[in-house]
């Protein structure tokens, strides 16, 4: 067979035929078109990079056979690994004690109390009522409100103060320190015998919080059981023992939680007693029906019998020797006074309050006062002016201030503080729930004068924790009215030498106030005043963490209520402080480079984040010196977050041209990139990729191509971990190349020539590091085209050869990022595309003078041979088919494709017979191979039976038939007309006749006859 050749000037049969053939590419016909093609392909791909399309490639073939692909190279796995996720839940040592014992007791009391059938839970009702803040003029809280508030307080205390750690428990409180009743007695006695000198009190156990709670629970159950068995005496005894626990504050930090737990137990018992007396009051006689007491019954309604029982209870508890349990038991039974007297038990409350002075331990005293306050409110002893609570507060405050008073060394209360081994500030923190409860109770009465009085109770210079609690409970309106005054109060507590705790507490206060401002805006004239007041005090602080905390909060405040100028001033001050602190740290340790502590860094990062969101324009942002400086002080995760936010901000804006900006953004991108390593989760990786991609995209050097290329070089080394970025860089380089062409056309100066050479060299180096063989091949071919645009023949040749080598070496199982990564159909399709494109390229690219014109072509054929096609794969056939017209094209006297400056094979090998012969030989081989493959019998796949099997077989058969038709077509295009070729082609078409509709085959047959028959133009 002979390959069809156009004789220049005589016939154009091949040219026409080829132009009509599928594999013809219009873009290759001129440099300009090719350049446009490359540019468009690159731009299209750039736009889709990083969009995260998880679909497989969709090969878009439009009419002009230009290739634009929407695809995504990265494969996103379906499982996402939460590597560092999962906030560690802090295990709470004390279990939630709230519901169980109460319910258990109440249910138990319900079930089998022998006296009556129904149990009216009067007074024990705890309907959830919305918290009413009293109207102006001060209405009293109802009992339900108080209980509601109490429960919230308990929960809050529980949460705030529970934790891990062991508690010291002295043997004296044998109920807690015993393991089991029987053992304990013996143990305790033995211990006593052994340590007669040290005495029982010195013996201490250390148990965990959880265990303590468990033992308390057990005690609670014992009480419940005793009550159920009508052994009320024992129940009372146990209850007294439980309340005695509150006398022991050596448990230290556990005390608030202990208080919560114990009060629940004694309240339960109190309720049981109340119910019992109620029932006693109802029964008119042993055989009569019981008439329930009205809800607001008077003492006069109560039967003598019930009154007696009530009195008996009170007598019983008044004989308790120790002060603390006696008081707590009386408070537990406080409600029962109602059976004896009509008026609320105000006298008793006052007496108890005074008796509380006898409790020397400030912590225990604080909490019992808190409980008195609660009982006072719940039993309706309070007046509209909150006098009772104020009384209690008056008792409480001196004790509180004395604890905080550093100079009160001689005071006996000091020994209690130091017995726990705590600092005063820590100790006072334990008293905070009590104080907060008292102040909140006062705050229920919204009379402002009242709260003023409360504030004054703090003394001339109220202590900061006190202020903090007061501010927490004050209503927003009050704070709004008196904002400046409050702030000056806080500032007044500062002295020259402030400890970090003090400063921290002050910071807390400021933050509490600012938080209130979040919801209620301060008055117009006050806004700036507030800021300046606070800043006057805060500025002097040298401790960086509280400072930053306040700064960060105030940032929001400024953004909401003030102008940009203030924001800048604030941030400048922050930068100054940070700088000063770092300088000081550097002085202390000149060898180490100083860094902020992690919490401080977090504040800085958050502030920067807020600023970034506010400014929205990255150029403006990066021109702010303080911004950049603060960004540089960050390390670690904070730095990554900061970088990410900056990049985000940049991406939303326009092109980045400012070199300073660029540098900063590059640094930010570098940080984000460096954060991604082998163990990062996919989300992190994707996000980082997206940020970097957008950053690189947004960089615009205008006409300075060299600078751009330099940037790309830098970027390549900086972002070596991210594949898509590398891909993008190649496309960008290619765009540079096309850009140059658009500028200078073919008229190159030596400089431009060197430049495009450098660009292609860049591509050559970068492409092998991209993952995914199909991506690489695509890039190679595109780069080769770009090189050809500028007539860089050697580069193009190198690129094509690299492509072919790559395709070859990517087969097999050991290849990294090779064909094996792709699903079989896709890889076959990709291979086919590659062959087609490469074929087109080879038409234009001149062959090698030394090693043979068809060296690369042969290489390509070998690649097709070695590729692991599926059995009966149509794509394999099609690859061969694609090459047949290509080889024919290569021997034409005038190539169908022509590019400026490229001396293609038609010039180089013009007239050489050996060239033509070799081509013919290759064509022959190709046709042979293709024909053989196309003729293989389709084997039915035995595994697929039934419907599916039939369909699959049918579709494969159809494909094969079509391939045959194409083969026939290709032969017709490529070969000179001859009867043998015609026969061959017809024979091939016959194969298809079995499966395809007749008219399709007829058309093909006709066409073949046209080209190969006797009346063909070349014949």
């Amino acid at each position: 067979m002979d390959v069809r050749r156009d004789r220049v000037g005589v016939s154009r049969s091949f040219a026409d035929a080829f132009a009509a053939h599928e594999t013809y590419e219009a873009s290759m016909t001129s440099s300009r078109k090719l350049c446009a093609f490359v540019r468009d392909a690159a731009t299209a791909r750039v736009r889709t990079l990083g969009r995260g399309d998880a679909n497989a490639d969709a090969i878009v073939k439009d009419g002009a056979r230009e290739e634009g692909r929407a695809s995504c190279a990265s494969t996103s796995t379906s499982e996402s690994m939460d590597g560092d996720a999962g906030a560690e839940t802090v295990r709470r040592g004390a279990a939630a004690f709230a519901e169980d014992p109460v319910d258990a007791l109440m249910r138990a009391a319900n079930a089998s109390d022998s006296d009556s059938e129904e149990l009216n839970q009067r007074g024990a009702s705890v309907e959830v009522v919305e918290l009413g803040r009293g109207a102006i003029g001060g209405t009293r809280e109802t009992e339900e409100d108080v209980n509601e508030r109490w429960r919230a307080k308990k929960k809050q205390t529980h949460q705030r103060h529970s934790g891990r750690g062991t508690i010291q428990v002295s043997m004296a409180f044998e109920i807690i320190s015993t393991k089991a009743k029987g053992e304990a007695g013996v143990e305790a006695r033995l211990a006593e015998l052994e340590n007669t000198t040290s005495g029982l009190n010195a013996q201490t156990h250390r148990i965990s919080q959880q265990e303590y709670v468990t033992r308390l629970k057990r005690l609670n159950e014992d009480i419940a059981n005793a009550w159920l068995n009508d052994d009320r005496v024992n129940a009372l005894k146990l209850c007294v023992k439980v309340s005695r626990l509150l006398a022991d504050t050596k448990v230290g930090k556990f005390y608030p939680v202990l208080f919560v737990l114990v009060t629940e137990v004694i309240e339960t018992v109190g309720r049981l007693v109340f119910d019992r007396i109620t029932r006693k009051a109802e029964e008119p006689g042993p055989n009569g029906s019981s008439k329930p007491l009205p809800d607001n019954f008077k003492a006069s309604h109560v039967r003598a019998l019930a009154k007696n029982t009530c009195r008996n209870w009170f007598y019983k508890i008044s004989t308790i020797r120790d002060l603390v349990p006696r008081m707590y038991m009386e408070l537990a039974l406080f409600k029962c006074y109602r059976f004896l007297q009509d008026e609320p038990p105000v006298m008793q409350a006052r007496r108890l309050l005074q008796q509380a002075r006898g409790i020397a331990d400030p912590l225990a005293a604080a909490y019992i006062r808190m409980y008195i306050a609660k009982c006072v409110l719940a039993c309706d002893c309070e007046t509209p002016e909150s006098e009772r609570t104020m009384e209690i507060l008056k008792e409480f405050m001196p004790s509180y201030t004395k604890v905080l008073d550093e100079d009160a060394e001689d005071d006996p209360s000091t020994s209690y503080i130091f017995a726990l081994g705590m600092q005063r500030a820590e100790y006072v923190e334990l008293m905070d729930p009590a104080m907060e409860w008292l102040i909140e109770s006062c705050a229920q009465n919204s009379n402002p004068a009242l709260l003023q009085k409360v504030l004054y109770m703090g003394g001339e210079k109220p202590a900061v924790p006190f202020l903090r609690s007061v501010f927490r409970s004050l209503s927003k309106i009050l704070i709004r009215e008196n904002a400046v005054k409050f702030i000056s109060l806080i500032s007044a507590t500062s002295t020259d030498e402030d400890s970090i705790d003090h400063v921290g507490a002050m910071a807390d206060c400021y933050c509490v106030l600012v938080d209130k401002f979040e919801e209620t805006p301060p008055r117009e004239d006050d806004r700036l005043a507030i800021l300046s007041e606070v800043w006057r005090a805060v500025q002097k602080w040298t401790h960086i963490e509280p400072y930053l905390r306040v700064a960060e909060r105030f940032l929001h405040y400024i953004i909401k209520y003030l102008t940009k100028g203030e924001l800048e001033t604030l941030m400048k001050d922050v930068a100054r402080h940070v700088h000063a602190w770092l300088e000081k740290a550097r002085e202390k340790e000149p060898m180490k480079s100083p860094t902020l502590s992690a919490p401080a860094m977090r504040y800085v990062a958050r502030s920067l984040q807020t600023t970034t969101d506010y400014f929205k324009g990255v150029t403006a942002l990066l021109n702010l010196k303080w911004y950049v400086y603060l960004g540089e002080t960050l390390r670690g995760d904070a730095k990554v977050e900061y970088s990410a936010s900056v990049l985000n901000c940049a991406a939303s804006g326009s092109k980045v041209t400012d070199p300073l900006c660029l540098h900063t953004l590059l640094e930010a991108a570098r940080t984000v990139h460096d954060n991604v390593d082998g163990m990062s989760s996919d989300d992190v990786r994707e996000e980082a990729e997206l940020l970097v991609l957008r950053f690189i995209d947004s960089v615009d050097f205008g006409d300075d191509f060299e600078a751009h290329l330099n940037f790309l070089v830098v970027a390549r080394s900086a972002f070596s971990n991210l594949d898509q970025v590398q891909e993008l860089l190649v496309y960008r380089a290619l765009l540079l190349v096309t850009g140059v062409y658009e500028h200078v056309g073919s008229a190159h100066t030596s400089k431009t020539k060197a430049f495009v050479n450098a660009c292609t060299a860049y591509c050559q180096i970068t492409i092998p590091s991209v993952r995914g063989v199909e991506v690489r091949l695509r890039l190679f071919t595109l780069a080769a085209r770009a090189a050809l645009v500028h007539a860089l023949v050697q580069q193009a040749d190198g690129l094509i050869r690299s492509a072919v080598t790559d395709a070859q070496e990517s087969g097999g199982e050991s290849a990294v990022g090779g064909w094996i990564d792709l699903p079989t159909e896709k890889s076959e399709q990709e291979m086919l595309d590659f062959v087609r494109r490469c074929g087109s390229l080879l038409i234009v690219a001149p062959g090698n003078l030394e090693q043979g014109a068809f060296l690369v072509f042969r290489g390509l054929m070998k690649v097709i041979e070695d590729f692991e096609w599926q059995p009966s794969s149509v794509s394999e056939i099609r690859s061969y088919i694609a090459l047949i017209p290509a080889i024919a094209a290569m021997v034409q006297e005038k190539l169908p494709y022509k590019l400026d400056g490229v001396q293609s094979s038609d010039v180089l090998f013009a007239g050489e017979e050996a060239y033509v012969d070799e081509a013919t030989e290759l064509a022959h081989a190709l046709i042979q191979r293709a024909t053989d493959l196309a003729g293989t019998e389709l084997t039915r796949n035995d595994d697929e039976d039934g419907e599916d099997g039939e369909c699959a077989y049918k579709s494969m058969a159809t494909d094969l038939a079509r391939a045959n038709i194409e083969l026939a077509n290709a032969i017709a295009v490529a070969c000179k007309p001859s009867p043998s070729m015609l026969a061959l082609a017809n024979g091939i078409i016959d194969r298809a006749r079995r499966v395809l509709p007749a008219d399709e085959c007829e058309r093909a047959g006709k066409r073949v006859k046209e080209l190969l028959g006797e009346d063909a133009p070349d014949a």
């Binding site: 007496r351 008796q355 409790i359 020397a360 004790s399």
Partner: protein, 326 residues
């Protein structure tokens, strides 16, 4: 099993001298015992003052020889039903008798459970039956409480009694083996009780203040003591002091200078109006105990004491039970 119970009408089984004690004897006869032939249903009420010599005062040998005769206060017997027969079921026999001392000159003493002196009133109901026939049904001695009549004079005494103040210092105190700084620098606790004579229904009130103290305090307690005296048949007069109740007033090293209230509820069964009778006497005393922390833990704690004698009187119903109030 058949049983007999006695029920008194008063709440709490508490009666005042001069009251009429009413109640009923309820005999429940089971089928197995019916018909119950008995020799009469008798109810007996008796009260007496029983004394013994305290163990601490005399040796064992002496205790054998010394004896104190009990003083009988009440002895009433009444036959509720003549001998007869009781059928199955519940039978009620009401009764009543006045609570009057016998002999009439004797005052009705209040119920008192002391250490050495016991004033006990009890009632006993019996459905008599000879032993050979199965024995009687009896309730056994059921105690009931008696309060003495309030005296107008007593009330006057109480009203007239004035404040008693006290001071406790390191002088005249036995502070134990190792008082340390207490003995040298000392301490001062000042306080007062509102009255020296109290009604039993009231709570003993007062206040105290720790002015200064060289050593930290452990606790301050108020102790109510009773002084029981008895005259033996030989004519020997012995008396013994024992505590009745402790009430802690201050727990720990309380703040200096703050006034801490005293509120001591007088226990019911273990106190009675101060009595001075021919053969026995009961009187009361308050002691303020200041317990200090020992110098070395393990040592005995130094205790400082101040005793204040008081008189207790029965207030009667006119006195509101102010124990439960201020």
């Amino acid at each position: 099993m058949s049983r007999v119970d006695v029920f008194l009408d008063a709440v709490d089984s508490k009666y005042r001298a001069g009251d009429v004690v009413r109640g009923e004897v309820v005999a429940t006869i089971e089928r197995e015992d019916a018909p119950f032939n008995h020799q009469g249903v008798v109810v007996t009420a008796c009260g007496s003052v029983a004394m013994r010599v305290g163990e601490g005062r005399v040796t064992m040998l002496e205790a054998l020889f010394t004896s104190v005769d009990p003083v009988s206060v009440l002895d009433v017997q009444s036959v509720l039903a003549p001998p007869g027969r009781l059928a199955t079921g519940v039978h009620k026999f009401p009764f009543s008798f006045p609570l009057r001392a016998f002999p009439a000159s004797m005052p009705v003493y209040e119920t008192f459970h002391g250490q050495n002196t016991q004033v006990v009133y009890a009632i006993d109901a019996e459905v008599a039956r000879p032993i050979l026939r199965g024995g009687s049904l009896t309730t056994g001695m059921c105690e009931f409480l008696v309060e003495s009549t309030p005296d107008e004079e007593d009330a006057e005494n109480v009203r007239a009694s004035g404040r008693v103040e006290f001071e406790i210092t390191e002088e005249q105190q036995d502070l134990g083996p190792a008082p340390g700084a207490l003995a040298t620098e000392g301490f001062l606790v000042r306080g007062y009780f509102d009255k020296t004579s109290w009604f039993l229904e009231e709570a003993i009130t007062g206040a105290l203040t720790v002015v200064r103290s060289a050593a930290p305090l452990k606790a301050i307690e108020i102790e109510l003591c009773r002084i029981e005296g008895c005259t033996t048949s030989e004519g020997q007069a012995l008396s013994e002091t024992s505590p009745v109740q402790f009430t802690q007033v201050a727990d720990g090293d309380c703040a200096r200078g703050t006034e801490i209230p005293i509120h001591f509820v007088i226990p019911r069964l273990f106190t009675c109006p101060s009595v001075q009778a021919a053969t026995f006497s009961i009187s009361f005393m308050l002691r303020v105990l200041c317990v200090f922390e020992p110098i070395n833990p393990g040592n005995k704690e130094p205790v400082a004491v101040r005793a204040i004698p008081i008189q207790l009187y029965r207030g009667g119903p006119s006195v509101k039970p102010k124990a439960l109030e201020l």
